[in-house]
Symmetry: none
Subunit: 265 residues, 2 copies
């Protein structure tokens, strides 16, 4: 379970928080830290706050874009305060841990990313819309903003609690388990990866422009709503191929197929 989970920190301001996150992860048995465009890293303050979890800092994957951090992932969850304009699927850390456990048990190659945003401003709307689900730590609405490392601690704690609970159950592959998406064991087709879904969403947007359904100058919330829909489904690879095929056929009818080739077909 733990080696299939990436903790992704985006654009972290304070290196001390990165160190505190490393310590919290190692305390709970997690090890895979991704840093997207950190403001100061490596840094002696991070080392100090890691209090011996320096191996996690040493092996941290530092990248410049979220895309790089998510490459190869099948399920992406972002930490969020409540009350977005378009509500996204949202769970608490305990339900998230349950889902991560089920997915990582179902498939050895399952990869889950959990995103944590900037200290002052969290994740951007665009980053939040890259997520299949959001996780909300149920803080007091009057004083709701947790320190970054505290948020990681709570989520990592729930993952560990779930893991320990599973050791006691001893029957992880019971057929009592619900199977509701390609991420669960027993599905017929492999899940699509997030980068494949991203290419589909790009292709979808281009096609909607081609058929005059979508005007990027007046986007309203169209692509956000379609993104929420298709990410909520957790598409499998065959479904993704079918949807791409429909877009190709649509573009052929519109006379735009090949005019502005998508990055990948």
């Amino acid at each position: 379970m733990f080696d299939q989970v990436r903790i992704v920190l985006i654009n972290t301001t304070h290196p001390g928080n990165i160190g505190a996150v490393a310590r919290a992860m190692k305390n709970m048995g997690l090890s895979r830290l991704y840093l997207v465009d950190p403001q100061e890293f490596p840094d002696p303050v991070a080392e100090r706050r890691a209090s011996g979890a320096t191996d996690i800092l040493d092996h941290a994957v530092v990248v410049s874009t979220l895309d790089e951090a998510l490459a190869g992932c099948h399920f992406v969850v972002g930490t969020s305060a409540r009350g977005r304009k378009i509500p996204w699927p949202v769970v608490n850390p305990r339900d998230l841990a349950q889902e991560v456990f089920v997915q990582t048990q179902a498939r050895d190659n399952a990869e889950v990313a959990i995103l944590f945003g900037r200290e002052a401003r969290g994740l951007t709307n665009e980053e939040l819309q890259r997520c299949n689900w959001h996780v909300h730590i149920p803080s007091d609405p009057e004083f709701s903003s947790l320190n970054l490392a505290m948020a990681v601690q709570v989520v990592a704690y729930e993952l560990r609690m779930k893991y320990l609970e599973s050791l006691e159950i001893e029957a992880p592959h019971s057929n009592m388990k619900p199977m509701v998406s390609p991420l669960d064991g027993g599905w017929d087709v492999e899940p699509a990866s997030v980068d494949e879904v991203e290419l589909f969403l790009e292709h979808l947007e281009r096609t909607l422009i081609d058929i005059d359904f979508h005007d990027p100058e007046h986007p309203r919330q169209l692509m956000a709503r379609l993104r929420r829909l298709y990410q909520r489904c957790c598409l499998d690879k065959m479904e993704l191929n079918i949807l791409r095929g429909i877009l190709r056929s649509t573009q052929k009818v519109a006379g735009t197929w090949g005019a502005q080739p998508p990055r990948s077909q």
Copy 2:
């Protein structure tokens, strides 16, 4: 529940940790902080790390002995690593929260104290033996020592989870409930009805024929797969309208819109 719980920090070395504890408490709805013989308090570093939870620091009860901090309490719990010479009753934070909930519900004047020891050495044996129970945060045995404020965060989080869970018994749509589709409480748009989804699937099939993607003579499993996909999502009414709009625009481009009108638009 929360106003019957004291968080007691014993002989804390770093004022930053006291501030971080105050923030973690306030995030989770706790307010009663007791400081037994803190090494530096008050201190501007504590204020800074409290990030707005300064009211908790201002009202902190500073005492010189554990006895003073425990005066009037009925139940005392100390955070502990495993493996004391004389094993004490030990629970994890979730079971502790359950117990605190039961006790504080049972009697209005119940008072619970949860003790957290020094950063470097935790609680002494004598202090641990003052406790009814010990609470152990199930960390990785290879790297088991949590930061002080992180430990408070985890315990406070479990208290809040228990509190919210108790509200749910009366209010089934509290914010504890996972919300992953339009069928859950809190979604922004009403779910589509099955007959609306059925009309959409008919319209989809007709459109796929129009653009030469689908041949009803050789259907393979195409419509079954698309049906599984869109039904799995539990579409909301706005998503359904968007998808119908896309089909209309596609048919206009294909020159088939209106040729064989769908039963409903």
